[in-house]
């Protein structure tokens, strides 16, 4: 190829950092260039001077600052002497440095049918890492090099082959091809190489990469090192815009509509992905790129027209040069596995950190841990860890305790309604503006439906499993959370383990599980995690960590408050009191803490705001005082001082009160230890908060809208707080208590302290024994979901207009009724029932049926969609007689002889005039978005991807 003429064409903009080396590279070529022309687009760093100095004034063209790459090249071509046969242009960037033999190797590879040749690009300055050996584009616009990022060049890709395009840095191109096809000025900086290669391919030219030719490339523009007015600060947007443009102008016409839709949706998904990893800048770039590209549709049309002129081969003939269609999916899979790997790695890192810490500690576990190899397997570590044994024992005990609840049917009873058949029920209830419950209700769905629905979805739609797991794994799960939290407060794993087990038992010893009090159980599960996150508000070293802690604590707080709104009220009260105290004693800290604490509460409240407002508007104050589930005030006894001190909010289902004496005594004695007193006092402040809330709410009765009755409040949450804080105080004071007692002779305190330690240690053990023996027997039970004949629920399920009016009671004690739709009430429905006022016509109808039914009684039943009337035993004789006497109401078969059932002859048509709140689904959707945003902000900060 000695006859070939090669003109090196270097385009420079602010490349003074690299230019001297680049120029050295060009001049030291084993096959020197025949001419060297440079275009400087108004560099401000003296690049032009360097060029002029090295190449002479006549070889350096002055371009304008905003000239796109295409314009600069075209300008240079215009000043070249007339083309000769076999003339090549070697395009170089100011940051691309060719190896000495690069040009020679390129020219050696040239054949008549090859129009474009490209070198192997290696990273500059590392020199060893591969950047590109030709490049193509995927269907989503991703630039594909076929290389792993940071792959070292070991000759593994050294195969001369046809490619779609080669980078313009080091591209050797026939002059006539360059002049015919040219670069597109619509692509100012990025993507013009792929576009050029694609068009060259369509014009029937071959593009070949020559691995023996090496050019080192700094990728200054791509890495954002060089900002020009053309790239601007948003180089991601410019890149993405170029990719979209390239795909849309070069792709086939037939595929254009599909491509338009796919790229739009793809961009939106990518945007969402960027938002999820807290990269709002990139997300904005994605959106801006697609909007800008699609907004200039005329440019796309013009671009396609230009390409049609030079195209000589069909689209499908160049298709093999494009990236395979499956590649984007492969990237998606890679991304997911990367994320999973990152999570696993992080967990492994944490485990390693824990091991390291454990090695620094003394004690039996640590000695054993020391004897293990640092990289011993997970199983080996678990087997050697008494902590793992304790939690395994808790799981076994949990399995033992549920023995009374094995078998078919759903859990229900006490405050718990049966779970629905699938999590979809909860989703639809959460989003619908009108509920087909009883006479129809517009009550807002309670906020805990969303977490239940989400959990149910994760468990493959099995709603019953959510409830079962919540109730039956409450002890080990709460114990684990508390153990993790207490490990933050104490260096002693025994104290933390003791506290974890003692806390874990609270849901069962208090009777919350047995009574089916979902609110208290969930609060017990969430509280340690909330406390853990809230702790970071005080100890976080960086603002970023603190801000994440705010969102994390807010999410936990919102979750607990969704099930038990009292948690939010306690948090607000606690924050206000704490800030008042801080402002008084440490005003210097008050402002910072106020921001964190109020921020936490505000974010949690914002997450719950639509529900809080809607529920307040619908249910009034009861919405804030009643927790998830039926009020079931018949299970709440009179609250004595003993009940308060020992944490027994209810009469039914809990452990004997004396079982908790040890914790109460130890919490008081914990105050005696002077070196931990400050932190014990902090824990005690939460004891006081819980006690104050109990004192305030103990005498309160709230009116339940659905029944019109006044009910006592279940005070499980404040008493849980009291017990949790007491356990924390004991665990903190119990740190190193053995040494404290054995090394210090301090008179009477020593035997008293020892006795208290023994009592405290024994307390959870006795609790565990009680739990194992008593199980979780209580009002909750597993069995038939409804006490209504199956054929009725089947009919109601087929057609919700065929309601079942269940009436219980007697003339003397009064009657209670419920109008069942579908298969009856399910978890969450208790909060959405129509108000007593809305049910007034039905109440009057039942009153009439129980006294003197008028001739209109039947038509009233038809209007309200009552197909069946069911009276479980014992049946009020007058009611039964009245119903028997009604013409059009025929006796139907009932479950038991003592029960009675009637069926309306003929069809029932409900005329409820559904007037749902159309805004409700949007509000809930907005809330879901809010939760996702909060979760994104709570997640670990994404390390900015190195470019």
């Amino acid at each position: 190829m000695t006859t070939a003429r090669v003109t090196a064409l270097l385009v420079s903009h602010d490349g003074a950092r690299w230019l001297p080396a680049v120029l050295d590279g060009v001049t030291s070529q084993t096959r020197p260039v025949d001419a060297f022309l440079a275009v400087d687009t108004a560099s401000s760093d003296g690049s032009a001077d360097i060029l002029r100095e090295r190449l002479g004034h006549e070889s350096v063209l002055a371009g304008r600052e905003r000239w796109p790459f295409a314009t600069a090249v075209r300008h240079a071509l215009s000043v070249l002497p007339p083309a000769v046969e076999d003339e090549w242009v070697w395009i170089l960037h100011d940051d691309s440095n060719p190896a000495p033999g690069a040009l020679e190797q390129l020219l050696d590879a040239a054949t008549p049918e090859i129009a474009v040749l490209g070198p192997k690009l290696r990273e500059w300055p590392s020199l060893r890492r591969l950047l590109e050996l030709g490049v193509t584009i995927s269907g989503t616009g991703r630039r594909e090099t076929g290389l792993e990022r940071g792959e070292y060049d070991q000759g593994q890709h050294d195969r001369k082959r046809d490619v779609l395009a080669v980078n313009t840095a080091g591209m050797l191109v026939r002059r006539e091809v360059l002049e015919t096809i040219g670069f597109d000025t619509a692509l100012p900086v990025y993507g013009n190489d792929i576009d050029f290669g694609w068009r060259a391919a369509r014009a029937g030219h071959r593009t070949v990469v020559v691995p023996d030719a090496v050019v080192f490339h700094a990728e200054a523009a791509h890495r954002g090192v060089r900002r020009t007015p053309l790239t601007g600060s948003r180089f991601h947007r410019a890149e993405r815009q170029a990719a979209l443009y390239t795909l849309l102008v070069n792709g086939s016409t037939a595929g254009l509509p599909w491509r338009l839709v796919r790229l739009l949706l793809g961009s939106l998904v990518r945007m969402l992905g960027f938002l999820l990893v807290r990269a709002p800048g990139e997300a904005y770039d994605e959106l801006a790129a697609v909007v800008r590209t699609y907004a200039r549709f005329d440019r796309l049309i013009a671009g396609r027209r230009v390409r049609r002129r030079t195209a000589t081969v069909r689209h499908k003939d160049v298709k093999h040069l494009l990236a395979p269609t499956w590649l984007p999916y492969r990237h998606g899979l890679d991304f997911v596995s990367d994320v999973a790997a990152a999570v696993v790695n992080q967990a492994a890192d944490l485990a390693a950190a824990r091991r390291t810490r454990a090695l620094a500690e003394t004690g039996p576990v640590d000695e054993e841990a020391q004897s293990l190899d640092a990289d011993s397997g997970l199983v080996a570590r678990l087997v050697a860890s008494p902590i793992a044994w304790v939690f395994a024992a808790l799981l076994l005990l949990a399995a033992l305790a549920v023995r009374g609840h094995l078998g078919g049917g759903s859990l229900s009873g006490g405050a718990l309604l049966p779970p629905p058949d699938s999590a979809g029920y909860w989703w639809s209830r959460a989003f619908e503006g009108w509920h087909d419950l009883g006479v129809g209700s517009t009550a807002p769905a309670p906020p805990y439906l969303l977490p239940l629905a989400a959990a149910g979805t994760l468990l493959l739609g099995k709603a019953w499993l959510v409830i079962d797991l919540l109730l039956f794994l409450a002890v080990p799960a709460a114990a684990f959370g508390a153990f993790r939290f207490l490990r933050r407060l104490t260096d002693s794993w025994t104290a933390a383990l003791w506290g974890g087990v003692a806390y874990g038992l609270l849901p069962v010893v208090s009777g919350a599980v047995q009574q089916g009090r979902l609110g208290t159980v969930v609060t017990a599960l969430v509280l340690p995690w909330f406390a853990h996150a809230a702790l970071h508000l005080f100890i976080a070293e960086t603002e970023d960590r603190r801000s994440r802690a705010v969102f994390r604590a807010a999410l936990w707080l919102a979750l607990a408050s969704a099930f038990a709104p009292l948690v939010l009220m306690l948090a607000v009260a606690g924050v206000v009191l704490f800030l008042l105290l801080t402002a008084r004693v440490r005003p210097d800290l008050a402002a910072g803490l106020a921001r964190s604490l109020l921020g936490t509460v505000a974010v949690a409240a914002a997450l719950l705001l639509p529900w809080l407002l809607l529920l307040w508007g619908h249910d009034g104050v009861s919405s804030l005082l009643l927790e998830a589930g039926r009020p079931a005030s018949e299970l709440i006894g009179s609250l004595t001082a003993t009940d308060i001190v020992l944490g027994r909010p209810g009469d039914v289902g809990g452990a004997p009160a004396w079982l908790s004496v040890g914790i109460a005594v130890a919490a008081v004695v914990a105050l005696l230890r002077s070196d931990t007193r400050r932190r014990v006092l902090v824990a005690w402040s939460f004891v006081l908060l819980g006690l104050a809330a109990t004192a305030l709410l103990s005498g309160v009765r709230v009116e339940v809208d659905a029944t019109g009755t006044e009910e006592r409040i279940w005070l499980g949450v404040p008493l849980l707080l009291v017990q949790a804080a007491a356990i924390t105080a004991v665990a903190v004071a119990g740190t190193g208590i053995r040494e404290q007692l054995s090394t210090h002779a301090f008179g009477w305190r020593q035997p008293v302290g020892a006795a208290v330690v023994v009592v405290a240690l024994v307390t959870p053990l006795v609790g565990l024994v009680w739990w194992a023996v008593a199980g979780t027997d209580g009002p909750i039970d597993r069995g038939s979901v409804t006490a209504v004949p199956e054929y009725m629920t089947d009919a109601a399920e087929r057609d919700s207009d065929q309601g079942i009016l269940v009436v219980r009671g007697s003339q003397r004690d009064g009657f209670r009724y419920v109008l069942l739709r579908d298969r009856g009430l399910r978890v969450g429905d208790e909060a959405m029932l129509p108000t007593a006022e809305e049910q007034e016509p039905l109440t009057a109808l039942v009153g009439e049926l129980a006294s003197v039914p008028g001739p209109d009684a039947l038509s009233a039943m038809i209007q309200r969609g009552v197909q069946f009337v069911y009276a479980p035993a014992p049946v009020d004789q007058q009611l039964a007689g009245n119903l028997d006497s009604l013409s059009g109401l025929a006796p139907a078969s009932s479950l038991a002889r003592e029960s009675r059932a009637w069926r309306l002859d003929g069809a029932v048509t409900t005329d409820t005039g559904h007037r749902g709140d159309a805004l409700r689904p949007w509000l809930v959707g907005l809330e879901c978005l809010g939760i996702v945003v909060a979760a994104v902000f709570a997640a670990p900060t994404r390390r900015r991807q190195e470019r």
């Binding site: 103990s698 219980r808 009604l886």
Partner: protein, 460 residues
């Protein structure tokens, strides 16, 4: 457990790193204060308020529909039966509405009934009452009750000298199913094989059931008619001969809704030939019963009778002829719920039953048939009642006020031209009855005025 060392676990939040405020006050006093506040909070916590689950009292609303069913039955030869209905004249009762079974009836009027079922709606549902009067060799009167599920008849019989017949009517549009229970002096009889249970009465149906078919050869019985499905109107007519050769008397027996610990029987005219109290104990435990008689001069206790014991499921007859000189009301008090009735054999062998009478605190009314004498007994300390006789056109014929001392029974004869008598207590509750020609008695019952609407609540 070891005391934390400064170089120990990094994860534990230790005091120096935490910007928690340091309390400026003495730690000991703060500790004491914290414990004191906790104690005060626990002690200040008020007890839980009582539960409001149990509903409060039921409310009364004006009745707008009254259905009454008169017993239909074959009558002995020579007996003439008349059915009557009246919308009693009582202040405050409505005047609008309609009454079926009679051409036209306005407030205050009484009229013959052309059907055995009568329905009053709207205003005329209040104060509506109907009756059946049989006259001939023997006089028998009964009122027409509303359908219900439970009916007790005491002092019925199923022997040659004493034959009773149940008359059951189903006024409703749905079928009724009836179980019958029979108590004898020897105990309860199992009727499952004699067809006493699961008796179906079709809508609008009528069933005449002689007790001899169910429990033959039993002189004295108590019967419970219980509709396990639907409602019925039940009545029992009774033929009784004091001896094998004596002529038999004919009478309707008053019903009792449910057994009670105190049963009051009113309508025992004075100087009968004999008086027999019958008490049955449907419970499963022995009942210890005492009997008191309230006459014109107050309470009289039967001599030689401290307490009467009634076995479970059994019936006991107590002869009270020794105390038969005066018009009396009887009070049966038991430690178990019982049912009772008082049979008086009067001159010429006719019989009168003093049936269970409910306490009257509001207006009650009964028809006049022949020589009609009202018996009124004070239940409380003293009582005052107004008795007003009305003609069939609603005109007031005569009015009297009776002041009754404790346990006193007073009588007042209604004028012959009266069609019905309204009894209105103005002070204290009373029981009362109307004794017709000394040969029949019917207890006063409060007129339908208000309906008790039970407390109904939606359940959560």
């Amino acid at each position: 457990m070891s005391e934390p060392r400064p170089s120990g676990a990094r994860r534990a939040a230790r005091a120096p790193r935490s910007p928690l405020p340091r309390p400026p006050v003495n730690a000991t006093s703060l500790t004491v204060a914290v414990v004191l506040v906790a104690v005060v909070l626990v002690l200040l916590t008020p007890g839980r308020p009582g539960t409001a689950d149990r509903p409060t009292s039921a409310t009364g609303q004006p009745v707008t529909r009254t259905v009454l069913g008169c017993p239909r039955s074959p009558v002995p030869e020579g007996v003439t039966t008349r059915y009557g209905v009246a919308a009693a004249e009582v202040d405050g009762y409505g005047a609008d509405g309609e009454v079926s079974g009679t051409p036209r009836l306005d407030r205050g009027e009484a009229s013959d009934l052309t059907a055995t079922t009568v329905t009053g709606v709207d205003g005329l549902a209040q104060g509506l009452f109907a009756w059946r009067a049989d006259s001939g060799p023997s006089t028998a009167v009964t009122t027409c009750p509303s359908p219900r599920a439970s009916w007790w008849f005491t002092a019925v019989g199923a022997s040659l000298e004493h034959q009773s017949t149940l008359v059951l009517d189903n006024l409703d549009s749905g079928p009724a199913e009836v179980d019958i229970r029979v108590l004898t002096p020897e105990g309860e009889i199992d009727l499952s094989e004699t067809g006493g249970t699961g008796i179906t009465i079709r809508p609008g149906g009528h069933l005449v059931l002689p007790l001899v078919e169910l429990a033959p050869q039993n002189d004295e019985l108590a019967v419970h008619v219980h509709a396990t499905r639907g409602r019925i109107v039940a009545a029992a007519y009774d033929r009784f001969a004091p001896g094998p050769t004596a002529p038999s008397g004919y009478e309707w027996i008053g019903s009792q809704v449910e057994p009670a610990r105190t049963v009051r029987l009113s309508g025992a005219p004075g100087t009968p030939r004999s008086r027999t109290l019958l008490v049955a104990n449907p419970s499963t435990l022995e009942a210890v019963v005492s009997v008191e008689l309230d006459g014109p001069s107050g309470r009289v206790l039967p001599p030689d009778l401290d307490q009467l014991s009634v076995d479970p499921g059994a019936l006991v007859a107590l002869d009270l002829t020794a105390l038969a000189s005066e018009d009396v009301a009887v009070r049966v008090v038991s430690d178990r719920p019982v049912v009772a009735s008082l049979r008086s054999v009067v001159r010429d062998g006719d019989i009168v039953y003093a049936g269970p009478a409910g306490a009257v605190t509001d207006a009650a009314a009964l028809p006049t048939v022949g020589r009609s004498v009202a018996h009124v007994t004070a239940l409380g300390a003293t009582a005052r009642v107004t008795l007003t006789a009305y003609s069939s056109t609603g005109e007031e014929v005569e009015r009297t006020t009776l002041a009754l001392a404790l346990h006193e029974t007073a009588t007042w004869r209604a004028p012959d031209e009266a069609s019905y008598v309204v009894l209105e207590p103005t002070q204290g509750p009373v029981v009362g009855s109307m004794v017709y020609g000394g040969a029949a008695a019917v207890a006063f019952q409060e007129l339908p005025a208000t309906v008790r609407i039970p407390v109904v609540r939606p359940a959560a």
